[in-house]
Amino acid sequence: MLTKRVIPCLDVTGGRVVKGVSFVQLRDAGDPVDLAAFYDREGADELVFLDITASSDARNIMIEVVERVSAQVFIPLTVGGGLRSVEDIRQILEAGADKVSLNTAAVLNSEIISEGAAKFGNQCIVVAIDAKRVQKSAVGKGRLGLDENSRWEVYTHGGRKPTGIDALKWAREAVRLGSGEILLTSMDSDGHQDGYDLELTCAVSEAVNVPVIASGGAGKFEHFYDAVVRGKADAVLAASLFHYGTLSIRQVKEYLKGQGIPVRDV
């Protein structure tokens, strides 16, 4: 039986992992390789690295990070942040990433999804969607635009820019174009540790026939269970919760296993 995946997300800038992790007995808590190896030992099923550097010379630093991590840690590695072209994707994959996560670039130029999928396979194109609940009845333009039934809007540029695009329509469109997986972040839940947005997660998971990774809002064990059972997520992602050691990946997996959710043994 396919197991549910538990995935830590690491933010990288200037070749260093930012946030937390001071609790970990590491030689260097900001070193991507040390941290990746730590999470691997902890039972992480995959790793997501997000390059949060804005500058244009960040790409080469990130490529070097991916080279180093993939030479030491042998679980799937997804890399996102600032990838704008098929050539960017190729470089990151050649450095050792298994998948790339596309967010803003996919919204601005959706051909990057179809071209990337045609060249490297659907399995390595993850479309990351930052979704926020629609407050007032806003109506967007075009066939992906918000309409009176829309419940979530897609944001880009790290959650700063509303797009007028309906998140469910965008998820379906991304998959139609060749995305093999959706990394879904609820902007309403993110950072609050009150649980994943189960309605959003379930709606997207039922709208597409590819795996959905739930992200944003994990704070305790039950949240992971709910994301998988009620949100119908195929994988659950968290960042600060793991980095600050509030919960460990090992504990989360043991909890899920105890609740009858299939997970890979640590």
């Binding site: 039986m1 396919l2 197991t3 549910k4 995946r5 691997d40 099923d45 993939s70 030479a71 030491q72 042998f74 679980i75 799937p76 994707i89 190729r90 994959l93 050649e94 050792g96 990433a97 298994d98 060249k119 490297f120 396979g121 659907n122 399995q123 390595c124 093999g180 997986e181 026939n209 590819v210 795996p211 195929d234 994988a235 890979r264 043994d265």
Partner: protein
């Protein structure tokens, strides 16, 4: 020398990195001569079967792969690297493959999410030294939409459940091929690769059980 066949897909180097981590030297190559001269050949794979077959043909690698396997030299196929060994695939509207293993590559049933992506158990269907130190039903990492359905069931070394029970690993003489990615399956994956390479290159180079 271990040759890892490069036919232009994106992330073939993770296999090379895993082999290097295990302390072996490997060469990533698209040169038919080097493939023919290798002691061990690895055919990794991601992407589409049709493109892969086209690339193998264009690079003149079809005959070298057939020859290496016919000579019973150790050969490891991974993911698409197992699929292209069969007679034909349903992918890309139907495509002829290498026909080294009689059988068909079929699309996973549509009632489950495709691709089958993540960690799933491999039920060992034969006793073989390549499984040394690997528990039955150990989890390996899968990413695929199609599966191999070989006509000769005696070569099925592993089976995995995803809606249906499908063949996730074949062993035939010195040929081993996996639908999952040992190079991305953490400790058990590295162990399987290590067992394969040790059996292939070590003193006990016979694969007899």
């Amino acid at each position: 020398m271990i040759s890892i066949i490069d036919y232009g897909a994106g992330n073939l180097r993770s296999v090379a990195k895993a082999v290097a981590k295990l302390g072996y030297q490997a060469e990533v190559t698209d040169d038919p001569k080097k493939v023919l001269a290798a002691d061990v050949v690895i055919l990794p794979g991601v992407g589409a079967a049709g493109d892969t077959m086209d690339s193998l043909r264009k690079l003149g690698l079809v005959e070298p792969i057939k020859q290496v396997i016919a000579e019973n030299r150790p050969f490891l196929g991974i993911c698409l690297g197992v699929q292209v060994l069969l007679t034909a695939t349903e992918e890309s509207g139907g495509y002829d493959c290498l026909d080294i293993i009689p059988g068909t590559v079929r699309l996973l049933p549509p009632d489950l999410k495709v691709p089958h992506m993540g960690w799933n158990q491999v039920k060992q269907k034969m006793a073989h030294p390549v499984f040394d130190g690997i528990p039955d039903d150990a989890n390996f990492y899968f990413v695929h939409s199609y599966y191999v359905d070989p006509s000769d069931r005696s070569i099925v070394a592993g089976e995995t459940d995803y809606g249906i029970s499908f063949c996730s690993m074949v062993i035939k003489d010195n040929l081993m091929a996996t639908q999952f990615h040992p190079e991305k399956s953490g400790e058990v994956g590295l162990r399987l690769l290590d067992n394969f390479l040790r059996l292939s290159l070590g003193e006990d180079s016979s694969w007899e059980c």
